[in-house]
């Protein structure tokens, strides 16, 4: 089987979705670690210095563009599989088992992923686009001038609908990763009684709860400040 054939099989495509998905899992950890600086009570100095570093360091920029390619690849292959999976049952059941045989969120990966994709487009337009190509006020720390992304986030999160949108996005992230993280391991064939507990635990607690809640807290704290 040639590589082109291998990655065109159902398992081959799922391997790509799983691998890109795990890479994106590693990204959300880094992203949260950086963004939590928005909650520092320093007038935005730490966050703005960090944001400027991230948008100017060439290695980070290389990875950041790779990240966007990975997101598109993940979404494209996953949607392709979803449409093929739906087509595999042309006549639907009159009665479905609901949650009797599988968890609700394990069946909603495409819906949650689509919510995340819409969220991401709005999120990138709001902050990434403005940071790189848009107009931002300036802030000066220790004689150096920085783009004040901190101020931009604080203004954005004064709008209730933006806060609601971000919380919905993070609910989508939570459900997507509770199933997605452990599902990727199963796709790689890594199902072992000695490690399944740990993989489940990390999937639920780290990626399903701590990280989405951590992200959601930022707009909520700013809104209610």
């Amino acid at each position: 089987m040639k590589w082109s054939q291998f990655f065109n099989t159902s398992i081959g495509k799922k391997l790509l979705v799983g691998a890109t998905g795990l890479f994106l899992c590693s990204f959300v950890i880094v992203h949260l670690a950086g963004n939590i600086q928005l909650l520092y009570n320093d007038g935005g100095e730490a966050f703005n210095v960090y944001a400027t570093f991230m948008s100017h360091n060439s290695l980070i920029q290389f990875i950041a563009w790779g990240l966007k390619v990975v997101i598109l690849l993940h979404a494209f292959i996953a949607l392709q599989l979803t449409f093929k999976n739906r087509a595999a049952r042309p006549v639907k059941y009159a009665i479905n088992p609901g949650n009797q045989t599988s968890s609700w969120f394990s069946r909603q990966m495409a819906i949650m992923g689509s919510i995340l994709l819409v969220f991401l487009i709005i999120h990138l337009k709001d902050f990434w686009w403005r940071m790189h190509y848009g107009e931002l006020p300036e802030a000066t720390y220790k004689g150096e001038t920085y783009k004040d992304l901190y101020l931009a986030t604080n203004e954005a999160f004064k709008e209730l609908w933006v806060v609601i949108l971000y919380v919905i996005g993070m609910i989508g992230l939570s459900f997507h990763l509770i199933h997605g993280f452990k599902s990727a391991f199963q796709t790689f064939g890594l199902n072992h009684v000695k490690y399944n507990g740990l993989i489940n635990f990390i999937g639920v607690w780290v990626f399903g709860i701590i990280i989405p809640v951590g992200f959601a807290i930022i707009p909520l704290v700013i809104y209610f400040k």
Binding site: M1, Q5, F6, T9, S10, I11, G12, K13, K14, L15, L81, K84, N85, R86, A87, A88, R89, P90, V91, K92, Y93, A94, I95, N96, P97, G98, Q100, T101, S102, S103, S106, R107, M109, H179, K182, S183, Q186, T187, F188, G189, L190, N191
Partner: protein
């Protein structure tokens, strides 16, 4: 358990042939014993339909002891009905109570076309097996049973995978109509044993290619197949199938 009789309303999928438009027909079925099997309840109804000069409901059945895998019925949204680890023929009417309405549908999957009423064509499974679900052995005298040593736990795992009766409940239960649990059981039963090693790589590559060709969906690890499997085939087999496929895909020279 105490015996009781019940009156039931049955909504059954009727379809003349593969290309016909099907629809649900409603039947009142009185006086059903709680000791009957689900298929016996259908026998009672069919006998009545024949006496009334109507077409009996076509459904697959053979052994009626839970090992042939023919009795494919999707009952109230569940493959083989509400009981765990049970085929339709082993489902008994005590699972229901007087006045219940029971909806019975055929397996729904593009790869399992409806032949008539509740009967579907599971030939796709046969073609997957033909693609590699076998070991090639020379004819002649059987060799001594102990000449190939197999650890007990591996033999047990292989046996558990080999318990798959190819009924198609995994496909019927999966939201993607994926056949991964079936294929994984058929790959695992041989991959776990020394006899399966010579054809290990071609087997998994060919069986998976055939599975895709038949139009089954892909696995999203929801676990519905494992929950519905009458032989309780484990999801660990799907992980093994993935491992076998990755190993073969990355190393097989052709």
């Amino acid at each position: 358990m105490e015996h009781y009789n019940m009156n039931l309303t049955l909504k059954v999928w009727r379809q003349k042939n593969k290309d016909a438009q099907g629809n649900f027909e409603t039947y009142q079925v009185p006086g059903i014993s709680s000791e009957m099997s689900f298929l016996e309840m259908f026998d009672v109804l069919n006998e009545r339909l024949i006496n009334e000069g109507k077409d009996p409901i076509a459904f697959d059945h053979d052994c009626r002891e839970g090992i042939c895998g023919m009795c494919s019925m999707h009952i109230n949204g569940r493959a083989h009905g509400p009981w765990q680890g049970t085929t339709t023929c082993q489902l008994h009417m005590r699972a229901f109570k007087d006045g219940d309405t029971i909806t019975v549908e055929p397996w729904r999957a593009g790869s399992f076309p409806v032949v008539r009423d509740l009967t579907v064509d599971r030939g796709a499974f046969d073609r997957i097996i033909e693609a590699g679900g076998f070991v090639s052995v020379n004819t002649g005298n059987a060799q001594d049973a102990n000449s190939i040593l197999i650890p007990k736990d591996k033999a047990d795992e292989a046996f558990a995978a080999a318990a798959c009766i190819g009924c198609g409940a995994c496909v019927a239960a999966c939201k993607n109509s994926s056949a991964m649990l079936f294929v994984s059981a058929k790959v695992s039963q041989l991959a776990l044993l020394p006899q399966g090693q010579p054809e290990k790589k071609t087997r998994v590559l060919n069986m998976l290619a055939q599975m895709d060709k038949e139009g089954f969906g892909s696995c999203t690890n929801t676990g519905a197949c494992e929950a519905e499997c009458p032989k309780e085939i484990s999801l660990t087999n799907i992980a093994r199938l993935n491992r076998e496929f990755i190993a073969a895909g990355f190393t097989y020279e052709k």
